[in-house]
């Protein structure tokens, strides 16, 4: 195996001081929810471990994950992570193109069999033999399977790779499926979001490189440290929710006062992500802070739940789109009418019977 530089070597080469490096280590430890005792451990790992090769493939997607990733809020974190991983193949970021790029991919797979991490952005469409997404002249699904075969682990970046996102929304003409429906025999970490938060992405990679193992995952295969709580659980507008103070209309006084957006269809109570704690763009803001409800982009099938402004999933099973309340009210109304009719019929029958008995007597 060729000699690969350690993370520390790379950072020093990039002109990062030892002091900055130690700052980064403490920051990462804090971001990952680790105690101060882990700081020297992270530093030690960075100083001694060779960089892990990463292959980053792109299926059906919009590149918003990459866009988010290269804007990682803490500049140092971005630099470090981008240099830390030996990003040997990423058709959007790499300088090489065409045959040279494909050669780099084959090279990396060959050289680091069983040791590289496969990061997947986007997902493979399966209809028409996968012809809806062609990479290097071949269906993406083939590239994905080939690259996955010798991967140590797979990271599913974003809602596309994790759950399918917009291209898998009904009626899903290309039959786009999330990565875990195609790759069945590898550990897969889902980092959903459209896009995922940059710090979450770098945090996941840093954890894997530092500890040489997958982070703790929840039931849906997401890193528990970022996806174990709902936006709602840590939302700064939560006191207004508990008080029963809601925005009733987008332009009302309550909206100006920053009340809870629950009635405006905020999906915070049903969305697992770190937006309300990590926030976006160097912790500047996140959707709810800017006055719009969460749309639940990191949830499974978020395009198929109906309007972004409705808190109940649209039910399409009855031919027309309806909400649970419409169906419930219709059923109760119909039942009420039925009961009323039944009461009338019962009364009529009873009256009839009584007259009959009277005439018989």
């Amino acid at each position: 195996m060729p000699q690969i530089e350690t993370f520390y070597d790379v950072m020093r080469r990039q002109g990062i001081t030892r002091r900055s490096f130690m700052k980064y280590c403490s920051l990462t430890a804090a971001a990952l929810g680790l105690g101060p005792s882990f700081v020297p451990k992270i530093a030690h790992a960075m100083e001694t471990k060779p960089r892990t090769p990463v292959i980053w493939v792109h299926g059906l997607e919009c590149t918003c994950c990459s866009e988010s990733f290269i804007r990682a809020a803490h500049p140092l974190a971005k630099d470090v992570v981008l240099s830390m991983i030996s990003l040997d193949y990423d058709d959007t970021l790499m300088a090489a193109a065409g045959h040279a790029a494909e050669a780099a991919l084959m090279d990396t797979i060959e050289k680091y069999k069983g040791n590289y991490i496969l990061a997947v952005e986007g997902n493979p469409p399966l209809n028409e033999d996968g012809m809806y997404c062609i990479i290097g002249g071949k269906p993406f699904v083939e590239q994905l399977k080939m690259a996955a075969e010798h991967a140590k682990a797979i990271i599913s970046w974003g809602a596309c790779a994790s759950y399918g996102c917009v291209q898998a929304a009904a009626p899903n003409p290309t039959r786009a499926v999330p990565v875990h429906k195609v790759i069945l025999d590898k550990p897969i970490i889902k980092v959903p979001g459209c896009p995922p938060i940059a710090e979450v992405m770098t945090g996941v990679i840093t954890y894997m490189l530092t500890f040489d193992r997958l982070p703790e995952l929840d039931r849906q295969g997401r890193p528990a440290m970022f996806y174990s709580q709902r936006i709602h659980d840590k939302c700064y507008r939560r006191p207004h929710f508990d008080a029963g103070q809601f925005v009733e209309q987008w332009d009302d006084d309550y909206a100006k006062k920053g009340y809870c957006l629950y009635k405006m269809g905020c999906k915070g109570p049903t969305t697992y992500n770190a937006c309300s704690t990590v926030r976006w763009n160097e912790g500047v803001s996140f959707p709810i802070q800017s006055g719009h409800g969460c749309i639940g982009c990191s949830e499974d099938g978020f395009w198929d739940q109906g309007s972004f402004y409705d808190r109940l999933t649209t039910i399409k099973q009855f031919g027309v789109e309806a909400t649970a309340d419409k169906i419930g009210l219709t059923a109760v109304g119909a039942l009420g009418a039925g009961v009323a009719l039944h009461v009338a019929a019962s009364a009529l029958k009873r009256a009839q019977k009584k007259t009959q008995e009277k005439t018989e007597a």
Partner: protein, 261 residues
């Protein structure tokens, strides 16, 4: 020597054994038959069953009201600063508390089914393998569709009520308890006891909003059951051949006529 014991409860030994339908569907015990020779009433619902019924009814009303308000909150109220106002929190608290009481009561009700009389077990099993039960179910359905002039006598639930009880309460309420605790587990947090016991439901449904929607639809099914249940109880009390409303208060089923079936 005459083997037959002359029983004062049987004035006419040649008379047919009463309550044929109830007997053959497993809803009337020999003691019940014995009892109606003696008096025109049968002790059906024991104290724990009646207590559970009313507690359960109260909890369901609280849960329906607060549940609806959680999904469709009251208009914004500015009684105080958010720090000092906990209106929505109290509504949610009432919902959770009623849910807990309902669950514990339901568990106690299940345990009671092991110790209580045959009627305490009726709602937990559906004798669909019994062709006579199916026949009686159709008969009762016909009674509700005004196709037969006279209903039959029943000691416990009539087959139609039995089926409704099984689907809406035994299965329906179990569904509401399971989805309810799965939703509660989200707030209680990962690793909590609720998450460990009911967290798998969210994994199964895949999306919390879908889970909320299912729980919400479940509420409507309970509303539908409530309407049917109350209407049928009142109607049966008036039009059937046995008592209904007083039975769930006193436990005694009284019959209005002396005919055997």
């Amino acid at each position: 020597m005459d083997e037959r014991v002359i029983n004062i409860h049987i004035p006419n030994p040649d008379a047919p054994i009463p309550l044929e339908a109830a007997r053959l569907t497993g809803a009337a015990r020999p003691e019940d038959i014995e009892s109606i020779f003696l008096k025109t009433s049968v002790y059906v619902y024991e104290v724990p069953v009646r207590l559970w019924h009313w507690l359960n009814a109260a909890m369901i009303f609280i849960l329906m009201g607060t549940g609806y308000l959680i999904a469709r909150p009251l208009p914004t109220m500015e009684i105080a600063e958010a720090t000092d106002q906990f209106l929505f929190g109290y509504i949610r608290f009432a919902h959770f508390a009623a849910g807990m009481v309902l669950t514990v009561a339901f568990a106690a009700r299940i345990i009671w089914a092991f110790f209580g009389n045959v009627h305490s077990r009726q709602m937990f099993k559906l004798p669909i393998h019994n062709p006579r039960w199916i026949k009686e179910l159709i008969f009762e359905l016909k009674w509700y569709l005004f196709l037969v002039p006279q209903p039959k006598k029943y000691v416990g639930h009539n087959p139609l009520a039995h089926a409704a009880m099984f689907f809406f309460i035994t299965l329906g309420m179990t569904f509401m308890i399971v989805t309810g605790f799965a939703l509660y587990a989200e707030g209680a947090g990962q690793g909590s006891i609720y998450d460990q016991t009911f967290g798998w439901v969210l994994g199964l449904v895949g999306n919390s909003q879908r889970l909320h929607t299912l729980h919400h639809l479940g509420m409507w099914s309970i509303v539908i059951f409530t309407i049917i249940h109350i209407y049928a109880a009142i109607r049966e009390d008036i039009m059937s051949r046995q008592s209904m409303l007083s039975t769930i208060v006193s436990g005694w089923r009284t019959f209005k006529d002396d005919r055997a079936e």
